[in-house]
Amino acid sequence: MTQPVFWALVGMALVVMGLYALIVHAHLLRKVLALNVMSSGVFLVFIGLARRAPGEDAPLAADPVPQAMVLTGIVVAVAATGLALALIVRQRALTGRTTLNDDVGR
């Protein structure tokens, strides 16, 4: 197993774990954490698999483009977490609940 594939698999495992946690946990804080785990996994896949040109055999030479992209992604993830936490805190202050309503979608 080459190193990129290893990192990609670890990243995918994180994504799957995050998705699982997002679905099973009702508490909103846990859902936000799950999304963060997922995004870490996606970033890992991105960085791990990055290489400059397809087919070349020197993949670990630093490719700046995905690094820049993941940096942007991290900023987005932080912003999303901040927004989510603000909304959750506000909802808890208003209603005392930290879960989603279940009376929708019918």
């Binding site: 999304l35 991105f46 698999l49 990055a50 927004l83 209603t95 309503n101």
Partner: protein
Amino acid sequence: MPLELLGPGWSGPHWMLAAVFVPLSAALLSFLLPRLASPLGLIAATLTAVAALALTREVMAEGTTRTLLGGWATPLGILWRADGLSAALMAMTAIVGVMVSLYAAAYFRHEAHERAYFWPLWLMLWAALNALFLSADLFNLYVTLELLGFSAVSLTALGGGAAALNGAIRYLLVSVLGSLSYLLGVALVYHGCGSVDIGLVAACVPDAPRPAMQVALAAMIAGLLLKTALFPFHVWLPPAHGSAPAPVSAVLSALVVKASFYLVLRLWLDVLGGGDGDGGGRWVAELLGALGAAGVVWGSVLALRQERLKLLIAYSTVAQIGYLFLAFPLALTGDAVAWTGALYLALAHGLAKAAMFLCAGNLLRFGGHDRIAELDSAVHRLPLTLTAFALAGVSIMGLPPSGGFIGKWLLLKAAFEQERFLLATVILLGGALAAAYVFKVVGHAFTPAERERRVRSVPPDMEWSAIFLAVAAIVLGLTLPLISPLLQVGTASAASAAVTLMAEGYA
């Protein structure tokens, strides 16, 4: 011409920049100067719309327009590209945007707190939308998608009530999940192609390693479907759209869901070349069509069963989104008719649905509630609002000569040509169900009001902006000879054009 007065010697790239940076800077300004938010917002809205419409005219006359932001070459620089598809959606956004801005200025006149947050968020959303329609690389699209999602979520929470917050949180979780799925796909695409430029990716997809690329595109499309609220991913939409303030609901239903649909379409048409040529593509198209058909029926039935007006309109959005996906299987033969039909439906739905939500806002403000069974007194006193709702309903039902009719006609034509009678039946059934839920509301106009209640008056701007949008949805039906050539601009030329631009950038 007034356009030349505004920007002497301006061409496509200038209008592109204006369409994004005017609302962006106005968003920041209105955040810093909340007292001036409304006038600032209205001016910015007008300028943005002018820029978008000027760009549309430019695209119509000159064909696809491109620019490299700041002159930086790709892959580190950012390429913007406006073809017919982008231009049509930007023009629709411009019309809806101006009307919603006018409406919102009246709607939030006496709510200083909400007004101070509405304008920055809404202008940010508009900037994100325009940037999304212009972006030509997959990662940049991710960024604009997130900008769009965050401003939409914040707008949903604007009312501040428990229902609005809950709807917003649900929306945020879904939105981030969808974006992550999309980003995962982008990562795999970059791995396979070494680029995220749509044109270059399109050129490389046929030769790229198969399973990785399939997973990548599946992840991207699945994420986008989640954001588009295609059945069965629609459960987040009604609470979010139903609990937001009226101008926000209008923007969310008319514009925001169209953005992710636009992206699906871009991937499908530009990257996958319409899904033809391999068995997997056919299978995916059939699946999307089946989900769309299920969405049409299920969304319409649920809309019919709602007791609150805003939820009814929100479920109608679920149904109308279903229609857009019926084009995927119908376009497999390579005939563009189905795509034109779906795009027409998207444009008509944008105008009509915005009008409907604005009407709902008027009724809500007038009567203090939006329970359909008790709407009669409000409906009686707001004939203009009712007219707007009925006219928008004509387009949603797909009756001639509205924009919705043309869209349905083209889809039906494709269905009958390929003898796909089941899909044709779904298209027709959706129209009949739409008539049922529209008249469920309109019918109350003719039953006498039992008690007179007048909670708050509705300013005329709020009624006329709704009327304008509804009439625009009808008039759209008469403009196919104008719009059809626009939609053809830039189709199938994306790949080659991007390659040339890349080469120029490196040179």
